[in-house]
């Protein structure tokens, strides 16, 4: 269970998230929607303890562990997996090098190269990524869609229990969106992780069906509802939802 209580997040001395609380039980899917610049990405970065983002008030616990006391590495090893809005490219370091290291750190044993390659190739085939990508530099020279699929390769291999997706649908064409979303839905069916999904669009929520939808405005969750709320927002815009609440 991921439990955020009364969290304030500051970046560059500016308060961006203000008294945010959110509880996500194991196996639940939560969506956060909200206009640009309200702090959606900041929530993700605060959970992962990204340098430059400071939590001045409140707590974040995952599986009874205080995330603020852990390093980004340890948070990841707890099983929290984050796909950022624009996955970082790393020149000179291949997927294979990084993944072998990440995997052996998690399992505490060296995995043999044959099992590793076989598993990666199976995943690549499943998500429609050429197997040659395994030996390419991480996200380097890859298109937006390829980067997201590349991140899915990492996801399927590292088998997280809690997934944070920051606008994974942005910049994807219809087909790529379907492939990416279906793959995550399939992962959900198999492993039942909890998922926090940040999006502007309902297309992805048609495939990865949320249990709860939250509307974020000025760093606060101002409304929570079922999947229905997402469709309402898409139809009527955020402003309507906010006015509804007396927020302008």
């Amino acid at each position: 269970m991921l439990e955020i209580k009364h969290m304030n997040v500051y970046a560059a001395d500016k308060k961006i998230i203000d008294d945010l609380s959110l509880t996500m039980k194991d196996g639940e899917i939560h969506a956060i929607m909200g206009p640009n610049g309200v702090g959606k990405s900041t929530i993700c970065k605060a959970i992962l303890k990204c340098p430059g983002y400071e939590i001045k008030q409140g707590t974040i616990f995952y599986d009874k562990q205080d995330l603020q006391k852990l390093s980004t590495t340890d948070i990841s090893r707890l099983g929290i997996f984050y796909i950022s809005q624009t996955p970082t490219a790393i020149e000179g370091v291949t997927n294979a090098e990084m993944l072998r290291l990440a995997l052996s750190a998690r399992t505490n044993e060296k995995i043999d190269i044959f099992t590793f390659t076989k598993k990666c190739n199976e995943i690549c085939t499943k998500i429609g990524l050429p197997t040659s990508f395994l030996h390419r530099a991480i996200n380097d020279g890859m298109s937006g869609g390829e980067r997201k699929k590349n991140e899915l390769l990492h996801l399927w291999l590292l088998e997280p229990k809690c997934i944070i997706l920051d606008e994974i649908d942005s910049g994807l064409d219809v087909d790529a969106l379907k492939t990416v979303a279906s793959s995550i839905a399939e992962y959900y069916e198999e492993k039942k992780p909890s998922i926090l999904i940040i999006t502007h669009h309902t297309q992805i929520l048609d495939i990865i069906k949320p249990d709860f939808v939250h509307i974020l405005s000025s760093g606060k969750i101002v409304k929570t509802g079922t999947a229905q709320l997402a469709y309402q927002v898409e139809k009527e815009g955020f402003q309507n939802q906010l006015e509804d609440k007396g927020i302008k």
Partner: protein
């Protein structure tokens, strides 16, 4: 697999002709004359303070090397006479303080010198690399290209001092030097995959050193 050929040099002067393999230099100063096509993979400097490559007319020297154990202070001087080719890619993974000078003298005509140096410094040691490219008077159609790249834990612990002295009108010369720090975003990304910070730095270091130049 072919056995690696390593030549151990104790002399102060030696001539290599169509040599392929590794060099191990034990003398304090060494002058190496090069004739024909030479491909040196690895140079180990034991006590060397100064090393000179003398490229005879029509000769070629290709040197692709990773240096890990270097003397703290030394100088490499290169003389290129006529119609020579030098292609030197040097990667240094710093493990001790380093003060190195590379002096490239283009003395004749139609020489083609290419020097690329990459340095990683994740230590607190200082690293100073001084290069001089000297295109001498009355020479024709020389090409001199130099690229210095550094990756450091803080920019202050690598210093590049590139200098170009051009005494001829007929030359193509270009040099550039860049130093960057470990990228916080890249480190964060790797840590998000469950890799520790030291391991992430190691990956980035190796990636930087082994990275082939983009065409």
């Amino acid at each position: 697999m072919e056995k690696e050929n390593t030549l151990k040099i104790d002399e102060r002067e030696i001539t290599l002709k169509n040599f392929q393999g590794n060099l191990q230099i034990a003398s304090a100063s060494c002058l190496v004359h090069l004739v024909g096509e030479n491909k040196i993979k690895h140079v180990v400097l034991l006590q060397t303070e100064s090393l000179t490559f003398d490229l005879q007319d029509q000769s070629k020297l290709q040197l692709e090397d990773l240096w890990e154990n270097l003397p703290n202070k030394f100088e490499v001087t290169i003389y290129s006479h006529n119609h020579t080719e030098l292609d030197w890619s040097l990667a240094i993974n710093l493990q001790n303080p380093l003060e190195m000078s590379i002096i490239n003298n283009l003395c004749g005509n139609q020489n083609h010198n290419k020097l690329r140096i990459k340095v990683v410094n994740d230590t607190d040691f200082s690293c100073q690399i001084k290069t001089i490219g000297h295109i001498q008077k009355q020479t024709q159609e020389n090409v001199f290209l130099e690229e210095l790249k550094g990756l450091a834990s803080k920019t202050t612990n690598i210093t590049f001092l590139p200098q170009l002295i051009v005494d001829s009108d007929s030359v193509t010369a270009n040099h550039n030097a860049t130093i960057k720090c470990f990228d916080e975003e890249e480190l964060f990304y790797l840590q998000c995959k469950g890799i520790t910070k030291p391991e992430a730095k190691k990956l980035l270091k190796e990636g930087f050193i082994n990275r082939k130049r983009k065409p």
